[in-house]
């Protein structure tokens, strides 16, 4: 089993530009530390109709209402999540869809880099951010190659390339993004790795409620029993493996 950069085709070039958007990085950093309620706020606003803050502040009384904190880190994060999400919502429909996808991938990468097992030796990096070896172990847009198996066309969104603890992760904005192709690709990676006596965890990260994901999975006939589901409420598990 070996990992390889995806081919720099036209899609990859366009998508690289989306991933490099500073708004993507800003939103991802906020959402990596957000509470479940703040993540629901982001999900709602990024796919909402209203582009002003007042409607959203009204809809989320636990974050902005009379009983919510009026100051402090939590309130500041709520305000920042709302502001960043509104910026996403103000993009055109196609662009906002791409930006949302890139944000889910960036949040996933940030959280996976926090794993202690993937952290390597700290050398002057911010707490919680994996340096050196981990930076090399957690990658984006990578293919996984197996002997005698034709390579998949689509790269995995995030990979953990730590020997003995490898992981292939695909990221989706919503439960509706779960489909047979994605499930087959993830399960194929896991089984091909097993054929080579390698351990590889297949994970699908969905920025949507677990309940919706389970409903979606219920009717899927593609193999997924061995694929780990990380939903909006359980995102923080990515940091713990």
């Amino acid at each position: 089993m070996r990992f390889q950069d995806a081919s720099p085709d036209a899609r990859a070039v366009v998508y690289a530009g989306i991933q490099a958007d500073p708004l993507v990085a800003r939103a991802a950093v906020l959402l990596a530390d957000a509470t479940p309620a703040q993540r629901v706020l982001a999900r709602a606003v990024m796919n909402g109709m209203s582009t002003g803050p007042s409607a959203w502040q009204a809809m989320f009384p636990t974050l902005f209402g009379p009983g919510a904190p009026v100051a402090g880190a939590e309130r500041e994060r709520s305000e920042a999540v709302l502001a960043a999400s509104l910026e996403v919502a103000e993009r055109g429909e196609q662009v906002r869809s791409q930006v949302r996808g890139a944000i889910v991938e960036s949040v996933t990468e940030l959280l996976v880099r926090r794993r202690s097992g993937a952290a390597g030796v700290a050398t002057g990096v911010a707490p919680g951010v994996a340096p050196g070896g981990a930076a090399a172990a957690v990658r984006r847009e990578r293919r996984i190659l197996f002997d005698g198996v034709r390579a998949e066309i689509h790269p995995y969104d995030v990979t953990v390339e730590t020997p003995g603890a490898a992981e292939a992760i695909d990221c989706k904005w919503g439960a509706r993004g779960i489909n047979a192709d994605v499930l087959h690709q993830l399960d194929d990676a896991r089984t091909h790795a097993a054929d080579e006596d390698e351990a590889l965890t297949a994970t699908i990260v969905v920025f949507d409620a677990e309940r919706s994901c389970l409903v979606r999975l219920e009717r899927q006939t593609a193999p997924h029993a061995a694929t780990r589901l990380i939903a909006l409420e359980t995102l923080d598990r990515l940091a713990a493996r």
Binding site: P36, R43, N47, G67, A68, A175, A209, R211, V215, L232
Partner: protein, 101 residues
């Protein structure tokens, strides 16, 4: 919309909008099964909260949150977005009620 003074009132006031959203989402025929699985799954969750906490007074801001949520989904003009909101709507409502999604 009837006045909202309890958790049960809030869920009852939100439900018609959710039903409308589901009906609109059905315009996407390829997703008929998902839509008709998803709606009942979330209605079950909302009903469970109504049964457990329906008599509790609604917290501050809930009476304003529900009409804002209903207005938000009423503005949706794309059935594909409506499908996404079939999942998002109950999450927003539950968070407003102090529940985990």
């Amino acid at each position: 919309m009837d006045p909202i003074s309890t958790v049960g009132d809030a869920i009852a006031a939100a439900r018609p909008a959710y039903d409308d959203l589901a009906a609109f989402a059905e315009d996407v025929e390829d997703e008929w099964s998902y839509i008709n699985d998803l709606g009942p799954a979330w209605i079950e969750r909302m009903d469970a909260v109504a049964e457990a906490r329906g008599h509790e007074p609604a917290a501050a801001g809930v009476a304003e949150a529900v009409p804002a949520l209903v207005a938000e989904v009423a503005a949706i003009d794309d059935p594909h977005r409506a499908i996404d909101w079939l999942s998002t709507f109950p999450q927003v409502l539950l968070v407003a009620l102090g529940e985990r999604p």
